[in-house]
């Protein structure tokens, strides 16, 4: 698949601020790939997401130089609501993503489709399908505000996935969730990857990024300092100096190599670590 998102020399600052949050950024994202976005807090990750979705500058205003293109067309040229069919956006806080006008989860998930005037028979079909996929169908008759954080975040994902966007932008979906909630959210994201959606995920839990992302973008002070295959970026120990948390497995691999244990490659996931360290142990012969 070709390029779906392109940044051309993008510099952006919010209104009433002097310092740009995004500085001279240029890159392309390809369709069907899973991108992890990492970097320190305040490095511009959320603003990057807003730019892709067009919230910046159309909602936040502020000053945009350069161009953000989605499917070859600048985001500022899209009409209201047009981008919601192309890009699904999920926020950090699950609670604020509840529309606040629906009494049941089923209607909450259907909300977007109603807005687009989809016929009721089709709405029902699509909502049921998505609720099954996100494992919330058993909650369908509950009030959205009665859910736990993990359940709400699944609802948030379901209510954008139901619009069938090709691109999903997900901003720290799990920072307020427990391990079980986190896992359930990642299962859904993995499912999206299988359906060949383009996924852009901001996430601090680096070990999960290592597990799922095809490529990783590293931001620092509003600049893009790395964009490459996951295994390549996350084994680069020099990034620790840039305030980037590296996966436990990559750190372990590097330490082992330093201490004289030969590894075929530096692992980033648990499965890889078990594979290469297992090999080394068998060769060691003890």
């Amino acid at each position: 698949m070709g390029v779906v998102i392109e940044f051309k020399n993008v510099t952006y600052s919010y209104p009433l601020t002097d310092e740009p949050v995004i500085r001279d950024m240029s890159f392309t994202l390809e369709g069907g790939k899973f991108y992890g976005v990492i970097g320190e807090n305040g490095s511009g990750k959320t603003t990057l997401c807003s730019l892709i979705r067009g919230f910046a500058p159309s909602f936040y205003k502020g000053e945009l130089q350069g161009q953000v293109l989605v499917d070859g067309k600048p985001t500022v040229d899209y009409g209201p609501g047009e981008l919601s069919l192309k890009i699904g956006y999920v926020f950090q806080n699950p609670f604020n993503q509840i529309s606040g006008v629906k009494d049941t989860l089923f209607e909450e998930v259907a909300f977007g489709l109603e807005n687009f005037g989809v016929p009721p028979e089709e709405i029902e079909e699509r909502v049921v399908e998505v609720m099954k996929m996100t494992n919330i169908l058993q909650l369908a008759e509950k009030n959205p505000f009665e859910l736990s954080g993990g359940q709400m975040q699944r609802v948030a994902l379901a209510s954008v996935i139901v619009l069938k966007p090709d691109i999903l932008v997900i901003d720290e979906p799990t920072s307020q969730l427990d391990p079980e909630g986190t896992e359930s959210v990642f299962k859904i994201i993995e499912e999206m990857k299988k359906e060949k959606k383009t996924v852009i995920l901001v996430e601090h839990k680096i070990d999960l990024v290592a597990e799922y992302a095809d490529e990783v973008l590293v931001l620092k002070d509003g600049r893009l300092i790395r964009k490459d295959a996951t295994a390549k970026v996350l084994t680069d120990m020099s990034l620790e100096k840039e305030g980037v948390q590296l996966p436990q497995m990559a750190i372990l691999g590097n330490r082992l190599v330093e201490s004289g244990v030969p590894l075929r490659y530096i692992p980033v996931t648990e499965a890889q670590a078990c594979e290469v360290i297992g090999e080394a142990i068998r060769k060691g012969g003890k």
Binding site: Q92, G243, M249, S259, G278
Partner: protein, 269 residues
Amino acid sequence: MAYIEMRDVSFEYPGGFLAVDNINIQVEKGENLAIVGQNGAGKTTTVKMLNGLHRPSKGDVVIGEMNTKDYTTAQVSRVVGYVFQNPDDQIFHSTVLGEVEFGPKMMGLDEETVKKQVDYALEITGMEPFREENPYNLPLSTRKFVTIAAIIAMNTEVMIFDEPTAGQDLEGNIRLGRILKELHEQGKTVITISHDMEFVVANFERVIVMANKKVVTSGTPREVFWNFPALEQAMLKQPYVSRVCHTLGVGEDVITLEEAVAAIRARCV
């Protein structure tokens, strides 16, 4: 008798929802303790009973000589400080300084002591440069440190942190570790809820595992993270390095990176 005693404690919300079911916890003075478990396990309800925000429906919570039943929350809070999970639930001053001063001033301390404690709190949380800033102009992860400073400035004997690592980056996690170490050296009793197992291993002497409104087990990180029945019951996983060592069958009690390197190296070289 331990400094903090929770004896046969249960808590039921008005409306009949049982959140904590007959637990016993003892904490010695100066201990640092982590509580882990899934959401809904009863962790937050438990710590809220420690600072009197909740009164047990059954059993007793005693801190030092003080049974929380006989005191108001504001009185208990002079001994037990509690940092909420969401900083935006508690910040209401227009400057960081004002926010941090509020607690010690409410306690009626003299000006000099207030200043000393506030300076100390700003210093160790790294909030000193933001003294005159409006907290709401700072990013959420920094605001969290403002609320931590606000509790440290009260210089309470016991300090409770509810998921301090949520949304923090590498630098934030390191800074939190430093703060916890400093408080421990000062002899404070620190109780922290966390979902980050690596963070727990790095910073705590003892871990309590909760599941299903009950305490499943309690012990050193090494004991807890190799206690598979307990982990399974609480639906928790080992830290990453322990998982690898467990799968490969090297080192039956590894919990840190250094130990993992040593154990694997011993088998290879």
